[in-house]
């Protein structure tokens, strides 16, 4: 009995220390990246290359999920729309949820699983094959050369994907509204435009910028700290995706409060 309690406390203690160390490492990396951004000596070619690759990886999958997520809003609310005869509010309800919450968070999680995981694996492989040390030995700063373009590309790309995803989700909602509840497109569009403020869209955009930075830093951090060969890379990818998901959820909670 006592042994169990002791073990549990030890477990909690070591886990806390580990999480603190990792959060600390990510914060340090964030400062290194910020410092490297002033003055902005960004490697333009690396940035464009990364943007292109990340966009290719994620646009189709984001569009697909966003479409159905938007549709889902309508499927879930259809019974109430019918019961309350609230056809004129269906677009507003779906739009509000999509722009402020579902869009940013769903796309961020998709992005983390696709682009973030891939980024961790790439940087992790480079780390275990000593390529980062190799760059330093040739007097090239891996933060400037490898990390900064990836972080910038990920923030920009998640922002763009969120805008695209928001739009696609609204289209999905409108089509589902017509198909399931019989709401005309014009009614749906009026409902969205008349009731939603630009700030509802911005609220989600602000979130997605913070999510992007958080996913980027997390995935880079776990990549460059890989130890223990190919097995270590696998573990790091897993840890990065979990950590990014947790941080996105926590940040979402607090930002929803602060942004109002």
């Amino acid at each position: 009995m006592f042994g169990f309690v002791e073990r549990a406390i030890t477990q909690v203690g070591t886990t806390t220390v580990r999480i603190a160390r990792e959060v600390g490492g990510i914060v340090v990396l964030a400062f290194d990246v910020l410092r490297a951004l002033f003055p902005p000596t960004l490697d333009g070619r690396e940035l464009v290359k990364n943007l292109y690759k990340m966009g290719n990886q994620s646009v189709p999958i984001v569009a697909l999920t966003a479409f159905f997520a938007g549709g889902l809003m309508l499927v879930q609310s259809a019974p109430f729309v019918e019961k309350l005869q609230a056809h004129a509010l269906a677009g507003w309800a779906a739009g509000y949820a999509v722009l402020r919450e579902i869009g940013p968070i769903l796309i961020a999680l998709m992005f983390s699983g696709r682009v973030g995981a891939n980024n961790t694996a790439e940087l992790g492989t480079m780390t275990v094959t000593e390529q980062l040390d190799g760059l330093r030995a040739l007097a090239i700063d891996p933060i400037r050369y490898l990390i900064v373009p990836r972080v910038v590309a990920m923030v920009v790309m998640l922002l763009a994907l969120t805008v695209i995803g928001d739009l696609v989700a609204l289209v999905g909602a409108a089509i589902t509204a017509k198909a399931v509840v019989g709401i005309e497109f014009s009614t749906f569009i009026h409902s969205v435009v008349d009731n939603l403020k630009p700030y509802d869209f911005l609220h989600g955009i602000y979130k997605s910028m913070v999510f992007g930075a958080s996913i980027a830093l997390t995935s880079c951090y776990f990549g460059v700290t890989v130890r223990g060969g190919a097995v270590g890379v696998g573990r790091a990818v897993n840890a990065a995706v979990v950590a990014a998901a947790v941080s996105v959820m926590l940040l979402d909670f607090f930002m929803t409060y602060w942004l109002g």
Binding site: T125, M126, T129, E130, D133, G134, L138
Partner: protein, 247 residues
């Protein structure tokens, strides 16, 4: 002259290097041997400032590099060629670009001159005509040799080889060491080489240091290594199963 004085390095609770004193005169060839995970690679990285010691000094030609910033180390690193144990070939560049990289970084050479030197260097390591391949298309032994080509192409004053012949067959091993020796004789570079192939290494270097339990346990001429007075060294070098050596 490369000089390490009372160098300590630990990772977490594990003291990997526990008071290293080592001197490598300019133009000398030093071999470092020791059991797996004894800190050989860590020692090499300390010499070029890729890792920082927890205590002690690393001096290159009389100046301590341990206090230098990453930017401040650039000039020192430009004088060093480094072959990494895990190749460190940039997987986003072709073999040719990898080998050309130190020259291109240094600047001052026309592109066709760089290309000429790259192909000469690749020929020297037995990989002529592989410029356009990507590192992922190469075997481990080929990557090693590309790494050697990259480490030596700019004729650095100091060359550090971490396991230059791991994964190579005996004939290629001999060829590689012949090449390293010929290179060293023409450039007069200071060389530090780590290898698990003690016999082949001893034919290349003049002195050998034995790293064991965080310290330089023994240092002496390469020719007489098998007759070293220390039984631990003798056992390691001869590969005996019985003896005082601890796993």
């Amino acid at each position: 002259m490369i000089e390490l004085a009372a160098v300590r390095k630990r990772f977490g609770r594990h003291a990997v290097l526990d008071g290293i004193d080592l001197q490598v005169p300019t133009g000398a060839r030093l071999g470092i041997i020791g059991p797996a995970a004894s800190g050989k690679s860590v020692l090499l990285k300390l010499v070029c400032g890729l890792l920082r010691p927890d205590a002690g000094q690393v001096m290159i030609d009389g100046t301590d590099i341990t206090e230098r910033s990453e930017e401040g180390l650039a000039a020192t690193r430009a004088r060093i060629g480094f072959l990494f144990q895990n190749y460190a070939l940039f997987d986003f560049m072709t073999v040719g670009d990898n080998v050309a990289f130190p020259l291109a970084r240094r600047g001052g050479l026309a592109e066709d001159e760089i290309a000429r030197r790259v192909s000469a260097r690749l020929r020297a390591v037995g990989l002529a005509g592989n410029e356009a391949k990507m590192p992922a298309e190469l075997s481990g032994g080929m990557k090693k040799r590309v790494g050697i080509a990259r480490a030596t192409i700019a004729h650095p004053e100091i060359v550090i080889y971490d396991e230059p012949t791991a994964g190579l067959d005996p004939v290629t091993t001999s060829k590689v060491y012949d090449l390293l020796r010929a290179d060293q004789e023409t450039t007069g570079a200071t060389v530090i080489a780590v290898s698990s192939d003690v016999e082949a290494l001893c034919r290349f270097v003049d002195t050998v240091a034995f790293l064991y339990q965080g310290k330089i346990r023994y240092q002496g001429a390469a020719q007489t290594l098998t007759d070293a007075p220390d039984p631990v060294v003798r056992q390691f070098v001869r590969g005996d199963l019985e003896g005082p050596l601890e796993g």
